[in-house]
């Protein structure tokens, strides 16, 4: 198999790689915020629940979580494994990344000076207004570098979808590597991920720059 054929075949899976990546971001970014807010709840059972969630999701391998979400329903309830593996894959990625995002959000929220809350309170802002208008934009700016780190990791982690044979780029590459006893597909995969992350780094850099019109 020629290098060109390998590249073409593997790029056919890039759409699915991107699907995991973008859908995970779309779900995990808000879900992480919810988990972070629950963790900060003054109602103990709620914060305990969020802490346990974070602890378990961060403390076990993403690969196991992928397997559990994809095949768990079959073993537990005898529900047939869904044809479209994208759904369980995105669920597993989203709940896993939400745990990491939640901790990043928390670090940002905790780093906000109390004076911002006090000024908002005296000016009569409601708690929700304070959070959305005053706190969140500043938190987002503070955590952007940490968020970029996680997003770069997510790009590479999409390759774990091979464990449930979801036909994304790396899964296809691995299949070619096995059938052709060739290392070339892995090199191609490495280049694909690197280019993807260069783009991610560029985009996040632009966002950071756009948000740096003020100093804290």
């Amino acid at each position: 198999m020629s290098l060109m054929t390998i590249i073409v075949k593997m790029s056919e899976g890039l759409g699915k790689t991107c699907a995991i990546f973008f859908l995970t971001l779309i779900f995990a970014i808000p879900l992480g915020m919810i988990v972070a807010l629950l963790r900060g709840s003054r109602f103990k059972p709620v914060s305990w629940f969020a802490k346990t969630y974070i602890s378990v999701l961060r403390g076990t391998p993403l690969m196991l979580q992928l397997l559990a979400v994809t095949y768990g329903p079959y073993y537990l309830f005898n529900i047939s494994v869904s044809r479209n593996k994208l759904i369980p894959v995105v669920i597993a990625f989203s709940i896993n990344y939400a745990a990491y995002f939640a901790e990043i959000y928390r670090s940002g929220i905790d780093s906000m000076p109390v004076g911002q809350y006090e000024a908002s309170q005296v000016l009569g802002y409601s708690k929700i207004q304070t959070f959305i208008k005053i706190i969140l934009p500043q938190v987002f700016r503070r955590i952007l570098p940490a968020l970029t780190n996680e997003i770069v990791t997510l790009v590479k982690d999409t390759s774990l979808a091979f464990t449930v044979s979801y036909q994304e780029m790396f899964t296809i590459g691995k299949q070619i590597a096995n059938s052709q006893t060739s290392f070339v597909p892995f090199v191609v995969a490495g280049v694909f991920y690197y280019v993807f992350n260069v783009i991610v780094g560029f985009v996040m850099g632009r966002i950071e720059k756009r948000m740096s019109y003020y100093k804290m």
Binding site: P113, G115, Q116, E118, A119, Q121, V122, L123, G124, Y125, S126, Q129, K133, I134, P137, Q138, R141, Y213, Y214, K215, M216
Partner: protein, 252 residues
């Protein structure tokens, strides 16, 4: 009539009894300065008046309506505290401007999104206010682009944009170097001449003496001396305040 009336305020932080049954009333158009050593409870009193701290017991009322009252030893706050918050403004020692908003947005946002006032009307008012304070060209600047003195002046106009009946200052010049202190004091003085009702916690003795209608000397969570500034400074009665002023003179 008193705009603010605080009666028998008690406040402790754990074992630290900070306010010991203190009372304070402020009439319309009056400028009251609160002076005293660090830890005397003056900032805490202001933070209680603005609901940033909750009192343990006592009464806080604005315009004759109780915001906090104590019945049978149990202190309760009014449900509509935000309605009371519209009555006063607070200027913080370290400004607490919103760094991600321009000067104009800092001023306009609360009147528009809290008081639901007309945006264009508020904008016109705020620009006029900035103009008056000599900050017109800074309307679209971000707080980080301003000097400390300018930031504090912006935080004063931000408070004024809410059209408060009474304005509190919590050591408004303590975070500023002497050069910048002057421009902030000038603004406060200007407000005093316009008969703005103000309560100022300050370490600027000469300023307190010049600008106030009444001076309160606090120590150890109680009012030690209170009255006309000339009387309080010129003819100090209590030994504690004499000592405080002596120390103060030595420092400056």
């Amino acid at each position: 009539m008193s705009i603010l009336e605080m009666k028998n305020i008690e406040k402790s932080f754990a074992d630290n009894h900070v306010l010991k049954g203190i009372s304070l009333h402020v009439d319309k158009g009056e400028v009251v300065s609160i002076i005293g050593p660090s830890g005397s409870g003056k900032s805490t009193l202001l933070r209680c008046a603005t609901f940033l701290e909750t009192i343990d017991s006592g009464v806080i009322s604005y315009d004759g309506k109780n915001a906090a009252e104590t019945v049978n030893g149990k202190c309760t706050y009014a449900k509509n505290l935000n309605d009371f918050r519209h009555i006063f403004g607070l200027v913080f020692q370290n400004f607490n401007l919103f760094p991600h908003y321009t000067v104009l947005k800092n001023m306009m946002d609360a009147p528009v999104s809290v008081l639901h006032r007309d945006k264009e009307e508020v904008r016109a008012e705020c620009i006029a206010l900035l103009d008056k304070m000599g900050l017109a060209e800074k309307a679209n600047a971000y707080p980080c682009e301003l000097s400390g003195g300018q930031q504090q002046r912006v935080s004063i106009v931000r408070a004024l944009a809410m059209q408060p009946e009474i304005l509190f200052f919590d050591e408004p010049t303590s975070a500023l170097d002497p050069e910048l202190t002057g421009e902030v004091l000038k603004v406060i003085k200007q407000l005093a001449e316009e008969k703005m009702t103000m309560v100022i916690v300050t370490h600027e003795m000469a300023f307190a003496r010049a600008v106030s209608d009444r001076v309160i000397f606090m120590d150890g969570g109680v009012v030690v001396e209170e009255g006309d500034p000339e009387e309080v400074f010129g003819n100090t009665q209590s030994e504690r305040m004499k000592q405080f002023l002596r120390n103060y003179d030595r420092e400056t």
